[in-house]
């Protein structure tokens, strides 16, 4: 029995990363390192309006005064920002008119990743914005969406076509100086997705951004901005992968969501950056700031994340519940393996009356990895009758891994109710015994239990994505999940 378990855990920790290949495409780089000229160069390359350059420079100056955060339960090696290339793009031959004109190598890359840009368009009705390294290569479905007034395009395009919206919303939820990495991103962000849903429109398809790091020694700094106007709805998906390399690569993104009155945004992430090898060498540093603002009354933001990749994850999707009766949700499954480290969780800031938030976090740690939940629930004195429920469970597989919980609860209002509970345990012997008693092999039983454990979160994912996430979980837990 113990041997079986060892074998399963051994298999689990040695499962391979499927997306570790690199694509040989012609790339355009700028010199490595970071200084004011680099910031100007990026802005110039993208032909940006003056206000954006100023925004970048302000951020750069702020960044210089800040220090790398060290409060996470993480062991972050020193990052040499002068060794990073801050802008890398597949060379554009000419403006793309249709999918047929996309570099076949690129299409092939996305096919290999299971994100077929063509197939997706035809079959599943998901509009995809594919971002490779620093730029968006293709956004599908834009035209169809435009008929409904939905703006879905790469960030660079949006800057050119809708500067007034960018100017109004950029940095309105995540200010430049929020933390070290937001300042960095605000200075050097290269591309990303922009999405605007007009009043009363329910987005007919799921919008999706697929991020791929391809080039070596580069960092990826993308920016996503979603604005849902009154009474609108959108479901947004995000996926990411990177090649297998011995060096660490930095990914520092910002996602901002604004929901106006009665609007709803559902944001789902399947994060599968390269986690590093079995010895903990290589992998992506995933330092991401995601925040949503429930601006108007009755608005809703829901974050769902499946975190399986990255050498180090530092990510706290949060919500500011400003509008009365607004609702925020956070569902997360974080799997760490080998030498992976994850410090992730959520922040819920209640400002409006009758606001409601839910946090469900499930951590699975195996190998020699460390998985921490860190979260803040803050009830402001104005947030009457607000309600929060948090549950964060951890599952330990193996005796050399760690699972930690660091919740912060701060309440200033007597009419609010805040509840938090957490458990940490390994797979229950009784459950295993029960399954085996019914003829299910040990290996399958563990798979069954792990799946059931994560189900609560996986169920929140949209159909197409849930399948991918489940597949991913099976890869991460290969050899143990049936």
């Amino acid at each position: 029995m113990a041997k079986d378990e060892d074998k399963i855990i051994g298999d689990l920790t040695s499962s391979d990363y499927k997306y570790g290949f690199t694509t040989d495409i012609e790339m355009e780089f700028i010199p490595k390192g970071l200084n004011e000229d680099i910031v100007r160069l990026i802005s110039q390359k993208k032909n940006e309006p003056e206000f954006l350059l100023e925004y970048r420079l302000k951020a750069y100056k702020k960044w210089l005064t800040m220090e790398m955060p060290d409060w996470g339960h993480l062991n972050i090696p020193e990052i040499d920002f002068n060794e990073i290339i801050f802008y890398a793009a597949p060379k554009k031959k000419k403006e793309l008119e249709s999918l047929d004109e996309v570099d076949p190598e690129l299409l092939d890359t996305f096919n290999k990743l299971g994100i077929s840009l063509e197939e997706q368009k035809a079959l599943s009705g998901v509009a995809v914005d594919a971002v490779i390294d620093s730029v968006s290569v293709k956004t599908t479905f834009s035209d169809t969406l435009a008929k409904q007034g939905i703006i879905f395009m790469s960030f660079s395009e949006a800057v050119q076509e809708h500067p007034e919206l960018i100017k109004k919303y950029l940095g309105s939820v995540v200010p430049i100086g929020d933390n070290y990495f937001t300042a960095l991103n605000s200075a050097v962000f290269s591309d990303g997705s922009f999405c605007y849903i007009p009043k009363g429109v329910r987005c007919p398809v799921e919008l999706s951004t697929y991020f791929r790091i391809n080039a070596a020694n580069t960092g990826q700094f993308e920016r996503t901005l979603i604005v849902a106007d009154e009474g609108s709805y959108v479901s947004y998906l995000e996926g990411c992968t990177a090649p297998q390399r011995d060096e660490n690569q930095l990914h520092a993104a910002i996602v901002e969501i604004i929901t106006h009155k009665d609007a709803e945004v559902k944001y789902s992430t399947v994060q599968n950056w390269y986690p590093g090898n079995k010895e903990g060498k290589g992998g992506i540093f995933n330092f991401v700031t995601k925040r949503g603002l429930c601006e108007g009354d009755n608005s809703k933001i829901s974050w769902t994340q499946v975190e399986t990749g990255s050498a180090i994850t530092w990510k706290y999707p949060s919500c500011i519940l400003k509008g009365n009766h607004s609702v925020a949700e956070f569902y997360s499954v974080a799997v760490t393996n080998n030498f992976q480290q994850a410090d992730t969780g959520s922040k819920m800031i209640h400002l409006g009356k009758n606001t409601k938030s839910t946090i469900i976090s499930k951590g699975i740690s195996a190998g020699k990895s460390h998985n921490s939940y860190r979260g803040l629930v803050k009830i402001n004195s104005s947030a009457e009758n607000s309600r929060n429920f948090s549950q964060c469970d951890s599952l330990l597989m193996g005796d050399r891994c760690g699972a930690h919980t660091f919740p912060y609860i701060e309440t200033n209002n007597p009419s609010s109710i805040v509840e938090h509970e957490a458990t940490t345990s390994k797979i229950s012997e009784e459950q295993l015994f029960y399954c085996q008693q019914r003829g299910i092999s040990n290996e399958k039983a563990i798979g069954l239990i792990v799946n059931g454990y994560a189900k609560e979160v996986l169920n929140q994912l949209p159909m197409e994505f849930a399948a991918e996430a489940q597949k991913l979980l099976s890869i991460s837990l290969e050899g143990s999940v049936g």
């Binding site: 609860i409 938090h420 509970e421």
Partner: protein, 470 residues
């Protein structure tokens, strides 16, 4: 003046006093202690008072506390010799052996500790370090780290006095020991008390520690208590903190538990201007069990911060942390629980609970229940809630003709009952229950003296029945 300057000013002032009066307050100390004092002073000079930049001190602001003009009481001479002339804090019919400290100095047994027939030694730590150097040096300073916190280093450098308790192997000390720490001074007293409790193998002890004040002056208590519980020993430790609104108590308690030992620590905080309790438990032997519970009732502008750190260093240990609190007016409470399960500390059971009732929207409640786990075969869970009294329960009681005020009282009593009922000494339990009741009624606003007849347990709880509702 800025926070940093204030802290540095007081630090320099204290270090000056340390240099100037070293011969006075350390005159009767052994060389061992003198050496330790000097080392600790050096560390304090380096790290100073804890500032809010430290994660564990983020919520506790000492600026106001440190800006007072304090007087260090460096001599053990009492202003009034007979303690009973001005103090009689006795729990009704509570049969204990009472030891008092006034302004940080032991009143009884200053010259030599009392030796019981069964071999137990109780008395002043100052006397014990001379008479029992072997015992003292084996344990003193072993369970604390001066580097961890400037307050501990400061205490190690300039502590005045404190109690020393030794229970030999296999001895069941049937008489409850009661330690009372009183501040009675016209000045702003700065008291640094240092206590050492040693329980031998399979020993038993019940210890009650009370903090009281007589003169309502700005006093600051910075106490460090080290407790060693050898294998199979059992300690019941009760701490009652009932001070005035101006008082500041900063305590650091370290429990070191060996195999199969058992600890029951119960902290009742009824009053105090600023109370910060750091309770550290190290479970160092298989089968050890720690039960750390507490209750805080804060109103006015009071501030209470409890930091509970449970370190599961070896396998097969159990721990339970339960703290409950009620915050009224503009009071603020902080709970910071941290359970650490080290690698290979398998078969650990650890539970951590913090429940709060918030009565006003000017009060603040912060709770941080942390778990840090490095072993897989464990069961650890925590729960934290902040809420109000159950409206349905309130309605149910009022339906039966009990007025709202009493109905609320009943519910609050039931809420805190879990902690009070854990007190295994019947008289202390009754006394605590009574204190809590009066505290919740608002009758007990400050220091409670038993000589004032209000603590009469025979007096039943009177319910005003609202006849108009019947």
């Amino acid at each position: 003046m800025k926070t940093k300057e204030i802290a540095i000013n007081l630090k320099n002032e204290l270090l000056n006093q340390f240099e100037q009066h070293f011969d006075v307050f350390a005159s009767a100390n052994s060389d061992f202690v003198k050496d330790r004092r000097r080392k600790a002073a050096k560390i304090f000079k380096e790290i100073g008072f804890p500032s809010r930049n430290l994660e564990s001190w983020r919520k506790t602001d000492l600026t106001k506390v440190l800006s007072k003009d304090y007087a260090l009481n460096l001599s053990s001479k009492l202003e009034k010799n007979n303690i009973h002339d001005f103090f009689s804090c006795e729990i009704n019919q509570f049969d204990t052996d009472l030891y008092t400290q006034v302004n940080g100095w032991c009143v009884e047994k200053q010259e030599s500790p009392k030796v019981y027939e069964n071999g137990c030694i109780v008395g002043s730590i100052k006397a014990a370090m001379h008479q029992y150097p072997e015992l003292f040096e084996k344990h003193y300073g072993k369970y604390v780290t001066n580097e961890k916190n400037g307050l501990i280093a400061l205490n190690s450098a300039i502590f005045s006095d404190g109690y020393f308790i030794y229970i030999p192997d296999g001895v069941d000390q049937d008489r409850t020991l009661q330690m009372v720490n009183i501040i009675n001074s016209k000045k702003h007293e700065f008291v640094n008390a240092r206590n050492l409790v040693i329980l031998g193998k399979n020993a038993r002890l019940k210890l009650v520690h009370c903090d009281d004040s007589i003169e309502f002056k700005n006093s600051l208590i910075n106490s460090v208590t080290e407790v060693f519980i050898d294998s199979g020993a059992k300690l019941d430790y009760y701490k009652l903190q009932n001070k005035d609104e101006e008082a500041v108590i900063l305590t650091n308690t370290f429990f070191h538990q060996e195999a199969d030992s058992s600890l029951m620590s119960n902290t009742l905080i009824l009053n105090g201007g600023l109370v910060r309790n750091d309770i550290n438990v190290l479970l160092n032997g298989r089968g050890a069990n720690a039960d750390v519970v507490g209750l805080y009732l804060v109103d006015g502008k009071q501030f209470v911060d409890n930091h509970i750190y449970i370190d599961h260093a070896v396998s097969n240990c159990t721990s339970n942390t339960t703290f409950k609190g009620i915050a009224d007016d503009e009071a603020r409470s902080v709970f910071n629980g941290h359970v650490l399960v080290r690698q290979d500390a398998q078969q650990t059971l650890a539970f951590q609970n913090n429940h709060n009732i918030q009565l006003t929207n000017t009060s603040k409640i912060d709770t941080h229940p942390f778990l840090e786990i490095y072993a897989d075969d464990v069961k650890c869970s925590h729960g934290a809630t902040v809420g109000q009294l159950d409206k349905e329960a309130l309605f149910y009681i009022m339906q039966r003709g009990i007025c709202e005020r009493n109905a609320k009282m009943l519910l609050m009593l039931a809420f805190v009952g879990e902690i009070v009922n854990k007190i295994s000494l019947p008289t202390v339990q009754e006394y605590s229950h009574d204190l809590v009741t009066r505290r919740l009624k608002g009758e007990l606003s400050a220091c409670d003296q038993c000589s004032i007849e209000c603590a009469d347990p025979d007096k039943p709880l009177v319910f005003e029945i609202d006849m108009s509702k019947v």
